[in-house]
């Protein structure tokens, strides 16, 4: 096999597919190699028990970039738009919020929430304009970078003195203090804390959890959607678009290493021993695995290797799936409410306490949960009358003390079930089977180092100009021909697509075809 491609993309995650589409549309001959048997990376829908299917990782869509949808004519089938979040109360006095609306709290909380949401949305919108382009580099004399930096300063200033000051005050701050100053309702504070820390190794009292909150709101103000057929439908659609655009996709083809000659990438070698050749190699794989395993430290510089090696990527979010005979009962909720997003986070201290364990390599005794019952709105996911529950559970550290062995898994499942039972007393009776995907499982199944959603922790020291690491923030790695296009690059994780788009545009721009 000596066929030469214009670009080879390692990994058919959503960003890899988005990147391939942009390149193919620009006339490039692109090959995408995927280790698993279907495209989508971690954004797939898969069966976990007989006819029960569920989104393997992310289960709600809230960040897919409109620009990507528009550019690629992607037509995601959305069943349920603008889903409400319900923070569960064990007495049935739940708090609901959606957009700038909140119910079940005092008048002052309601007023404060509207103000809070307005300001946060404004800041998030500002951030999102920077998510759709490569971050400017610091310390260069490149005019484009300098202009982009100047524009960032200008955009901040134009918000007005007060708002700019607020932005600068909040951006590095923890969400706990901000929520505590503003709100009374423990449930509301609990729910918003979850929004800020979901998918991270951070607690609400950790620094820059306002940033992670803004990140969540950055596209469409964080409006939550159910894609029809689970998250896999989005990536399947992307895969089809890529196919139509002429992208060649090979599944079941795991890349073993990136081939390098004389300091320049020339192709890839698969685990099966096949070689594919291209001078442009784009990795949708996380930065650590890309550099340490596929490239090898021999081929890159010491300080760069050192930085990549120290990228923080300890996953902490597990996925928990239940196949249910019937929906459980929750006091104060009717059947329609099961289409909402349910949160178990009774107050902000509960969330912080749940994180405490993770700091020391233990799983939470009282975990926080984001629960969805996607089969309520999407019958394709479960046999008629039956249901699936898909939950994100935190915290369950990747590097659990003693490892994720059978008994550790059983213990954690017990803990989750006990937590659920507090709100759904009859849940155990309805369970047909359960599945737990710990960060260790996610690493194994989806080849993400550390099993981290974002491939690299979303924190200020790994954000924008320094994502994944200083000196490599514009998708191009310090190895000629090697690019990254995954969640580990700017702007970050979630089903977003900006990284894939930005990377493709960067590559096209460099060769002058954009």
């Amino acid at each position: 096999m000596t066929e030469q491609y214009d670009a080879i993309i390692i990994g058919a995650g959503h960003n890899g597919l988005v990147c391939s589409c942009y390149l193919a549309k620009a006339g490039k001959k692109v090959l995408v190699l995927e280790a698993n048997n279907q495209v989508g990376g971690a954004a797939v829908t898969r069966s976990f028990f007989e006819d029960f299917s569920v989104s393997a990782c992310a289960h709600l869509l809230y960040q897919l970039q409109p620009q990507v949808i528009k550019d690629l004519n992607l037509n995601p089938k959305i069943i349920s738009d603008n889903i409400t979040s319900i923070v569960l109360s064990d007495r049935g006095e739940h708090v609901r919020y959606c957009g700038n609306n909140v119910e079940g709290v005092s008048d002052s909380d309601e007023k404060n929430y509207r103000e809070f949401h307005k300001r946060m949305s404004r800041f998030a919108r500002l951030l999102n304009t920077y998510f759709n382009k490569p971050p400017p580099r610091l310390g260069t004399k490149n005019k484009k970078d300098l202009f982009a930096l100047a524009k960032l300063g200008f955009d901040l200033r134009i918000m007005g003195k007060k708002e700019m000051r607020e932005f600068l005050r909040l951006i590095g701050m923890n969400i706990y203090d901000e929520l505590d100053e503003r709100f009374e309702s423990p449930l509301l504070k609990g729910g918003l804390s979850v929004d800020a820390v979901l998918g991270t190794h951070l607690g609400p009292r950790s620094p820059n959890t306002i940033l992670t909150y803004l990140y969540r709101l950055s596209v469409n103000q964080g409006k939550l959607q159910y894609p029809a057929g689970g998250m896999g439908s989005i990536t399947t659609a992307l895969g089809e678009l890529a196919g139509k655009a002429g992208v060649e996709i090979q599944t079941n083809t795991a890349v073993q290493r990136i081939l390098i000659e004389n300091g320049v990438t020339v192709g890839v070698e698969t685990q099966a021993g096949d070689s594919f050749f291209s001078s442009t190699i784009i990795s949708n794989v996380d930065p650590k695995k890309t550099i340490m395993d596929l490239v090898g430290p021999r081929n890159v510089e010491t300080r760069f290797t050192h930085r990549i090696h120290h990228v923080r990527n300890r996953g902490n979010a597990s996925k928990f799936h239940l196949a249910l005979d019937r929906l459980p009962k929750i006091a104060g909720l009717n059947e329609n409410d099961f289409s909402a997003r349910l949160l178990i986070a009774p107050n902000e201290n509960y969330v912080e306490s749940a994180f405490n364990h993770a700091k020391y390599g233990e799983s939470s005794v009282n975990p926080i949960l984001e629960i969805t019952f996607p089969s309520v709105v999407d019958q394709s996911l479960a046999p008629s009358g039956k249901h699936v529950m898909s939950a994100i559970v935190q915290y369950s550290p990747y590097d659990l003390k003693g490892g994720w062995n059978e008994s550790a898994r059983d213990n954690f499942i017990q803990t989750i079930m006990m937590t659920l039972e507090k709100y759904m007393p009859d849940i155990k009776k309805q369970v047909l089977t359960s599945e737990l995907l710990t960060p260790a499982d996610i690493e194994k199944e989806f080849h993400i180092s550390g099993g981290h959603w974002h491939h690299a922790e979303l924190s200020l020291d790994q954000f924008m100009f320094v994502r994944p690491v200083a000196g490599a923030s514009q998708y191009q790695m310090p190895l000629d021909g090697l690019y990254l296009c995954g969640a580990g690059t700017h702007p970050g994780g979630n089903v977003n697509g900006a990284a894939g788009r930005n990377a493709a545009r960067m590559i096209l721009e460099q060769e002058g075809s954009l």
Binding site: R298, E301, T302, R303, T305
Partner: protein, 398 residues
């Protein structure tokens, strides 16, 4: 558990007691945390021991790292600019290593002790850098400065002295080679290396046998003019040999604060040590860029007219009407053996081609009054002192 005594201040090398016996000047300095003699009785006499008989310098404070493990070769080959695959067991390589921007961190000698086992010797400590460079490599890096005592035995009679000590087969040792000998039941390594640009050897042995080695060596060398020396004499010898001293002629990149004060190997005249054809080494990308772009600085060796030492002088292109200097001197000396006024310096490119004439501005004091002279200097290519005996194998016996 009783409190352990922690050494404070300077450490002593195992040879300290012997040197102290000879010492008449009490002129000591610190080298890597050890007391090291600046001069022991008379720097001039010590210098002439190097050039006319044999000088013995205690190089125990030289920082020594043992690098071993399955990836040792890959690791070192990526660390330094030189192609380490060509350095077989039993050979020694002079090498430099760079940061990611291709700027020199330090230079040193790498001894290939046995298949896959290396000793790296350098002026400065580098464990943080070497550890960072080891990420992803299966290697062990251990500092063994304290465990290994070492002596530089340098000068025309050094070979005869070591033969007289009973080192059979030494005549076959080529420059930059190493051999092992038995010394009173202890393995002693002898390498034909040094910092004087002359015939000479370095002896490496377990610290416990250090005193025995010193005593035997001085007995064997008694009739061959053997003398212990200090660093002042050695510094003069190394300038004559055209060797660079870190912190004198260049700054290790990590020791600089201001931009533009670092140097690349190309700027230090070490292009012969840079192998662009081998797989990646640290700094390769940056050095390829520099080659395309052209270097900013160039290291020069200068032969200066007159006999006034050009200490730290500015270098100018012309004798008069100079707008700005083109460089400066970093090491300078009157060379007794070459009868030349010599210096090592740095100039901006494109100045400093071999054969170019430049001018150095020398200030000198006569009874408190300062005078200034512009002295013509010629850029030379070869070291000032480069005797054939340096590389002759077998060496000439006395």
């Amino acid at each position: 558990m009783s409190a352990q005594e922690v050494p404070q201040g300077r450490c002593y090398t195992p040879f300290y007691d012997r040197m102290k016996e000879i010492d008449r000047l009490n002129n000591w300095t610190t080298w890597a945390g050890y007391s090291s003699p600046h001069a022991l009785y008379c720097p001039e006499v010590e210098y002439f021991a190097i050039r006319n008989s044999t000088g013995v310098f205690d190089i125990t404070p030289m920082i020594k790292y043992r690098i071993s493990g399955p990836d040792a070769l890959e690791y070192i080959d990526r660390l330094v600019t030189r192609n380490m695959r060509k350095i077989k067991p039993g050979r020694v390589a002079y090498a430099v290593w760079c940061d990611d921007r291709g700027q020199v961190l330090d230079d040193g000698t790498i001894f290939h002790l046995a298949e896959g086992v290396y000793r790296l010797c350098s002026q400065e400590r580098h464990l943080p850098w070497f550890t960072a460079a080891a990420i992803g490599f299966d290697v062990e890096i251990k500092e063994e400065t304290e465990d290994i005592a070492a002596l530089a035995v340098q000068g025309p009679t050094s070979f005869s002295i070591l033969k007289n000590m009973g080192l059979d087969g030494l005549e076959n040792l080529k420059p930059f080679g190493l051999m092992y000998f038995d010394f009173k039941g202890e393995k002693m390594m002898v390498s034909r290396t040094g910092f004087t640009g002359d015939l000479g050897y370095e002896l490496w042995i377990n610290s416990e046998k250090a005193i025995d080695l010193w005593d035997d060596l001085f007995v064997a060398g008694e009739l061959y003019g053997i003398r212990a020396i200090g660093s002042e004499a050695l510094d003069l010898a190394r300038i004559e040999a055209g060797y660079l001293a870190p912190l004198e002629d260049f700054l290790p990149a990590e020791a600089t604060v201001r931009t533009g004060r670092t140097r690349s190997p190309l700027e230090l005249g070490m292009e012969w040590l840079v192998d662009f054809d081998k797989p990646n080494f640290n700094g390769r990308r940056a050095l390829i860029d520099e080659k395309k772009r052209g270097s900013t600085w160039r290291l020069v060796k200068l032969d200066i007219e007159g006999n006034k030492e050009a200490h730290s002088s500015y270098i100018f292109e012309h004798e008069e009407n100079n707008d700005a200097e083109i460089g400066f001197l970093t090491s300078s000396a009157w060379s007794p053996i070459c009868k030349q006024n010599i210096a090592i310096g740095t100039v901006k490119t494109p100045h400093g081609n071999v054969g170019d004439s430049v001018w150095v501005e020398i200030y000198y004091q006569r009874e408190l009054h300062w005078s200034r002279v512009m002295a013509k200097a010629t850029v030379v290519g070869k070291p000032f002192w480069f005797p054939p005996r340096r590389s002759q194998t077998p060496p000439f016996p006395y």
